[in-house]
């Protein structure tokens, strides 16, 4: 059935839409257009003159081994965050689903991390992982591991992955729990009678039935790891040591803001925009097809 509102005054619908459109134009399209324009320009160090250079910024970027290193760092980081936050969330959701009676309190506790600002999450983990003060670091030292994220790139990476995943777990948990609750109990029971042990039930029944949820969350988590972990990384490692935790988004900031290379930074932004558009397109396609069985 077609649902349409009928406006007597032809101008009214446009007037009602105007604020939303204005906000989108000013805060999204305008900066985006600026970034594209900027990516074709080179500005001297003092901002006194600009020169139109066509694709030079992009060529520069794609011939820079540093850019590929950052790209690789981003891939490692995003994969680690996605896998970690999804698997921990799924584990918790399966446990909560089993004992759903106590789950209201449990659920509330698990959703809290989501309300913590990224930078605060970073600081929290810094306290726990600080080489000299943090309790986790002390525990590791006792186990004979010389934990030092300030000097060791791998340690720094583990640190930002932990903090970033932790933030996302509650969100993923809620979706997984909802997904699990939507699986009819009798289907699981039928599988139990059909001779499937809990572990096999999980792999052959529960996980496949959760696949629409999982797919949705994979995309959401990749987008999160790419674009929303800036605060966490900035607070914890500042991209260091030796750029070991510098992701693409962080590099935009580091090159543009700290390095003063506005053109190169803008070119990176444009590439990131393309990535977002790509991910969103994939997501919409699959949501349309619903990834069902």
């Amino acid at each position: 059935m077609e649902k349409r509102a009928v406006f007597g005054n032809r101008a009214l619908p446009y007037a009602l839409l105007a604020p939303q459109i204005a906000i989108t134009l000013i805060f999204f399209y305008w900066p985006a257009a600026q970034a594209v324009r900027q990516s074709f320009l080179v500005e001297d160090a003092f901002g006194l003159s600009t020169e139109f250079v066509w694709f030079e910024n992009y060529i520069h970027l794609f011939t820079d081994p540093g850019y590929y290193r950052t790209l690789w760092t981003t891939v490692v980081f995003s994969t680690a965050v996605t896998v970690m936050s999804l698997s921990v969330a799924l584990l918790l959701a399966v446990m909560a689903d089993r004992e759903i009676k106590g789950a209201t309190g449990y659920r509330t506790l698990l959703i809290w991390p989501y309300a913590v600002a990224p930078a605060v999450a970073g600081v929290l983990w810094i306290f726990m992982l600080d080489p000299s003060l943090g309790i986790i670091a002390q525990g590791l030292r006792r186990l004979g591991i010389d934990w030092n994220p300030r000097l060791n790139g791998t340690h720094a990476m583990i640190q930002v992955v932990l903090a970033s995943s932790w933030k996302q777990i509650s969100y993923n948990f809620l979706f997984f729990l909802a997904g699990l609750q939507a699986i009819p109990k009798s289907v699981i029971e039928a599988a139990a009678i059909d001779g499937a042990r809990p572990w096999r039930r999980f792999w052959t029944i529960i996980l496949p039935l959760l696949s629409p949820t999982t797919f949705f969350l994979v995309v959401v988590n990749i987008v999160y790891a790419f674009f929303e972990t800036f605060g966490t990384i900035d607070a914890m490692t500042g991209g260091g040591p030796a750029k070991a935790t510098e992701t693409l988004v962080y590099k935009v900031y580091a090159d543009g803001r700290l390095g003063g290379d506005l053109g190169g930074s803008a070119a990176q932004s444009v590439i990131l925009m393309a990535i977002v558009i790509g991910l969103t397109a994939i997501q919409f396609r699959f949501i349309e097809r619903k990834v069902t069985y």
Binding site: S186, E189, A192, I193, D194, G195, R197, T204, I205
Partner: protein
């Protein structure tokens, strides 16, 4: 194949709901047992305890010689058909049926043979590659049955498997289930609240009420000699008429001022005891008005085609009589006679048969 024996089985849910209160009965090897009773009487709970889906709070369940109280559902060698079918939505019909065999490590060739055999028996061969959501309710029902039979289990358990089907399909599937059970000879326990299903399917009928067994026997036994007023009222459609009466000492009861002869030996020597006189609508005959007949003031008539149900009141108590269409007037007052052998007497308080 195996028998199933329940001994004083109890179930208390969290929160203290006593769903099953001491149920004992035995289902003989290869026979078809139906558990019937009103909603909430504990039928599903009992069946789920036999399946191992619900813990047993007390008593023992045996399958064959083995006590299965502490045995996982997978190891009880049973198959269950659920009310909502519980097919695996992400698997094809073939995989749905093969799943249980694969879990048990059955060789591929044998799985294929058994699945195809079941599909042939159940007439679902054309749909083997489809997903359950692309099937009609009746086809899903067949697949669910197929999933149960490919495993060749010791016992089939059914929990209201037909209640999601339309009336016509339900009758058709009922016949098929019976035929299948006969040909496979697998011990079956079937839960329903539909007394027609219960009567038609069962070798052994177990009527439950409020977590307890009211009566066990063949459908005919229960129909002819219900042990309690509950069973009498539950089995049979239209339901039995109950008329307040008083015992006399001459093999009869008084209904108001009228003397009605009842089955021999009922309640001997307890003259003056108030009782309920139970008579099935089809056991009442339209007769000429005479001292031993009951007067029915007609209220309305239901047409069933070959027969009609005449509803009315006997001494102000609602009653129904079933007669061949056109065999009786449909207005005014009818005089009804009854064979003494077709009467049932129940104690009003305990509801027990006299």
């Amino acid at each position: 194949m195996a028998s199933v024996t329940l001994t004083d089985v109890r179930k208390v849910y969290h929160g203290g709901v006593e769903a099953v209160r001491g149920v004992s009965f035995e289902v003989a090897d290869g026979s078809f047992c139906v558990l019937v009773g009103p909603s909430g009487c504990g039928k599903s709970t009992l069946l789920r305890m036999i399946a191992g889906l619900e813990t047993i709070s007390g008593g023992t369940v045996r399958i064959g010689e083995r006590v299965v109280n502490a045995i996982e559902p997978a190891d009880r060698d049973i198959a269950m058909v659920f009310q909502n079918y519980a097919l695996y939505p992400h698997m094809s019909v073939y995989d749905n049926m093969a799943y249980g065999l694969r879990n048990r490590g059955t060789p591929k060739a044998e799985i294929d043979a058994r699945v195809r055999e079941a599909a042939r028996i159940l007439d679902v061969e054309p749909y083997l590659d489809r997903r359950p959501k692309a099937l009609s309710g009746g086809q899903r029902q067949r697949v669910a049955m197929g999933r149960a039979i490919v495993r060749k289990p010791q016992v089939f358990l059914f929990d209201e498997p037909l209640s999601n089907l339309d009336a016509k399909l339900r009758v058709q599937m009922r016949v098929e289930i019976k035929r299948l059970q006969r040909s496979l000879g697998v011990t079956s326990i079937y839960v329903t609240h539909d007394q027609v299903e219960a009567m038609t399917l069962s070798d052994q009928l177990v009527v439950m009420n409020a977590g307890q067994v009211e009566q066990i026997g063949t459908p005919t036994e229960l129909y002819r000699r219900p042990a309690t007023r509950f069973v009498a009222g539950f089995l049979g459609s239209p339901a039995m008429n109950f008329i307040p009466a008083v015992l006399r000492d001459d093999g009869a009861v008084s209904v108001g001022e009228r003397r009605v002869a009842v089955s021999a030996g009922a309640g001997g020597g307890r003259a003056g005891l108030p009782v309920e006189l139970g008579i099935r609508p089809e056991d009442l005959r339209v007769a000429a008005s005479a001292p031993g007949t009951l007067p029915l003031e007609i209220e309305f008539v239901e047409e069933l085609g070959a027969t009609q149900l005449i509803h009315g009141r006997i001494d102000g108590v609602a009653a129904t009589v079933q007669v061949a269409t056109g065999a009786a007037p449909t207005e005014g007052t009818l005089a009804l006679a009854v064979e003494p052998a077709a009467t049932h007497l129940f104690e009003p308080e305990s509801g027990r048969r006299l």
